[in-house]
């Protein structure tokens, strides 16, 4: 019932009640600073190697490590806001008893999930504001040859990360431990995607695991187009994989949401106690 209206309502509520909370500012200004430093220093030992995966090879010699860290952080913060926030969001709904009202209403469940992912992603605007300041202060050198490639890669990345957020939120909404799971997926995601550790140094088994994660491709195309002079033609394969993954994630969301609602009603876990 009224998918777009539910999405809009969910986003509006988020902006009105959460967007200007001090917690959000800390989450999007202070935490990224410490994360950024952590990513930077973790990457220093590897910066003379070659950053590559099966599909892309980018010579590291041209890449500015600060820019590399910051572009990775852009993707990470979008992922965190679109995905991880949902865990905390639904945890609060459980505490407040409002999750029951959501499920009591005839509102589109997909609309609720999508609205939550998009609402969480709206937090990302705070980070972008901070990022612009950081880019100016740190005098980051970008190496862009195709603005079209940059725009397309950022747009597809945004859609995929929203879809990934929706996928995770389907599970967060079903569990009282959603908040904990949201925290628990962060470390493996950082480790396996190449955010803090070059994938080529991982054991083969983990490399295989890494290429199944959408976030890995997001990092590759965003970093590649912003810093590695990649054109649209050179990232077509990665873009195709990401778009395929996005549709798979949305399809899975639709299937799982029905199972999740049954699970919730069977196990009576809409409230915290």
């Amino acid at each position: 019932m009224g998918f777009s209206r539910v999405v809009k309502a969910q986003m509006t509520r988020w902006v009105k009640s959460e967007f200007f909370r001090p917690q959000n500012l800390i989450w999007n200004f202070v935490l990224p600073l410490t994360w950024g430093l952590q990513f930077y220093f973790l990457y220093i030992p590897f910066q003379f190697g070659e950053i590559s995966l099966q599909f892309i090879k980018v010579s590291n010699a041209q890449i500015n490590l600060v820019g590399y860290t910051l572009s990775g952080q852009v993707c990470w913060m979008l992922f965190v806001n679109a995905s991880i926030f949902g865990g905390a969001f639904f945890l609060r709904e459980r505490w407040g008893g409002t999750l029951e009202v959501l499920f009591l209403s005839p509102a589109s469940r997909m609309g609720i999930i999508t609205g939550t992912a998009l609402a969480g992603a709206s937090n990302f605007l705070w980070f972008i504001a901070g990022l612009v300041i950081a880019v100016v202060l740190l005098n980051v050198q970008l190496n862009i040859v195709s603005w079209v490639a940059v725009v397309v890669s950022l747009f597809v990345s945004f859609l995929v990360l929203i879809a990934l957020g929706m996928f995770f939120e389907t599970f967060f909404i079903a569990s009282r431990l959603g908040g904990m799971w949201a925290t628990a997926i962060q470390e493996p995601m950082q480790f396996l995607s190449g955010l803090i550790f070059p994938i080529q140094y991982l054991p083969k088994v983990l490399q295989v695991l890494a290429i199944t994660i959408p976030f890995t491709y997001v990092l590759l195309i965003v970093r590649g187009t912003l810093l590695g002079s990649l054109t649209l033609e050179s990232i077509v394969w990665e873009l195709s994989i990401l778009i395929f993954m996005m549709f798979c994630l949305i399809g899975l969301c639709l299937v799982f949401l029905k199972c999740v609602e049954k699970h919730i009603k069977r196990h009576a876990n809409l409230t915290m106690f």
């Binding site: 019932m1 407040g96 009202v101 509102a107």
Partner: protein, 336 residues
């Protein structure tokens, strides 16, 4: 009369875990509802009474599609609450006690607007409808203040407004006046009564406040340990479970030996000092003599005995009519 809500052989079992050792736990089964059967008719206000953990909230949640029953059937407006849940949801709403189900950082008006979007209510005239509801619950002046600045009573009133937003044909009220002061509770009761009268709304009310059910409900079901013990109108309930009339005689100035003698009279159940008495008997205490299962002859003989004693003053003799509370306690005690 058409049946609006029905429950047939409704059963709900919860699986819980009890930790037995550090890393071990044992599964436990808790039966919240056992073979519940009842029907609520259109425009009726049906009360579900029971002690804590009796299964009132579980019944309500099953009927408004928030929970699956383990077995049995339930329908609302003719739709099965499990198979046709999507058809039931637009027709029902629920308000619960205890300051929940609202977004505290939004204003009262924003809350209603958000829930109106979830119910996909027509946008034309929505603002007026929200204002009218806020006016009905007396919150129009504070409509643009965040809910976190509302008092408990105001939050509860806003919750009722939220529950009425989609003009439900069946309204579930789960302890709606929990923790509210007498004045606010009365206002809410009047509001609900008014809605039921005007819009022929069907209401299922669960409450601990027996006077509330007595005042509002056409019929009352008493539930205990997941079993529905009886369904009756409040008057029939009191007549059916006839409790022996009790008579209180308040006296002053009586000596201890006289009281001991009265204690042996037939029908006298207890003699207590009435510490809250408005009567004064010099420096001596005021006594409350409680008689039960008493005939007119018996009471007149004891009263005559008291009147013959010059030192004893009879302040008051009053008949105590059994309340719904007395009936409730008797039914629950009988059920064990």
């Amino acid at each position: 009369m058409s049946v609006m809500v029905s429950a047939s052989s409704l059963r709900r079992v919860f699986q819980t875990k009890k930790r037995t050792r550090l890393l071990r736990s044992k599964k436990q089964t808790v039966t919240a509802l056992e073979d519940i059967n009842f029907e609520i008719y259109k425009g009726e206000m049906f009360g579900l009474l029971g002690p804590n953990g009796a299964g009132k909230t579980t019944t309500t949640k099953i009927l408004c599609t928030l929970l699956y029953p383990t077995s049995g059937n339930a329908t609302v407006a003719g739709y099965d609450v499990v198979k046709d849940a999507h058809k039931v949801r637009p027709l029902v709403n629920m308000a619960a006690g205890g300051e929940r189900m609202l977004y505290f950082r939004l204003t009262g008006r924003e809350n209603l607007r958000y829930f109106a979007d979830l119910y996909d209510l027509p946008k034309v005239g929505l603002k007026d409808k929200i204002d009218e509801l806020l006016g009905n619950v007396g919150l129009l002046e504070r409509a643009d203040s965040p809910v976190e600045q509302y008092s408990k009573g105001m939050r509860q009133r806003l919750q009722i407004a939220r529950a009425l937003l989609n003009d439900p044909i069946v309204l579930f009220l789960d302890e709606p006046t929990l923790g509210l002061d007498v004045h606010v509770a009365r206002e809410l009761r009047e509001l609900v009564q008014q809605k039921v009268r005007q819009e022929k709304m069907t209401v299922l009310l669960t409450t601990h406040y027996l006077h509330e059910a007595d005042e509002l409900c056409n019929r009352i079901g008493i539930i205990n340990q997941g079993q529905l013990l009886t369904i009756e109108t409040p008057i029939n309930l009191k007549n059916k479970f006839q409790i022996n009339p009790k008579i209180h005689v308040v006296v002053g100035g009586a000596k201890k030996s006289q009281l001991q003698e009265i204690e042996t009279f037939p029908g006298v159940q207890s003699i207590k000092i009435d510490v809250n008495s408005n009567y004064k008997a010099s420096s001596k205490p005021v006594w409350d003599i409680l008689y039960e299962t008493i005939t007119e002859d018996q009471i007149s003989s004891t009263l005559r005995f008291l009147l013959e004693k010059p030192n004893v003053q009879i302040f008051e003799a009053k008949r105590h009519t059994p309340s719904l509370e007395d009936v409730f306690i008797q039914i629950i005690d009988q059920a064990g």
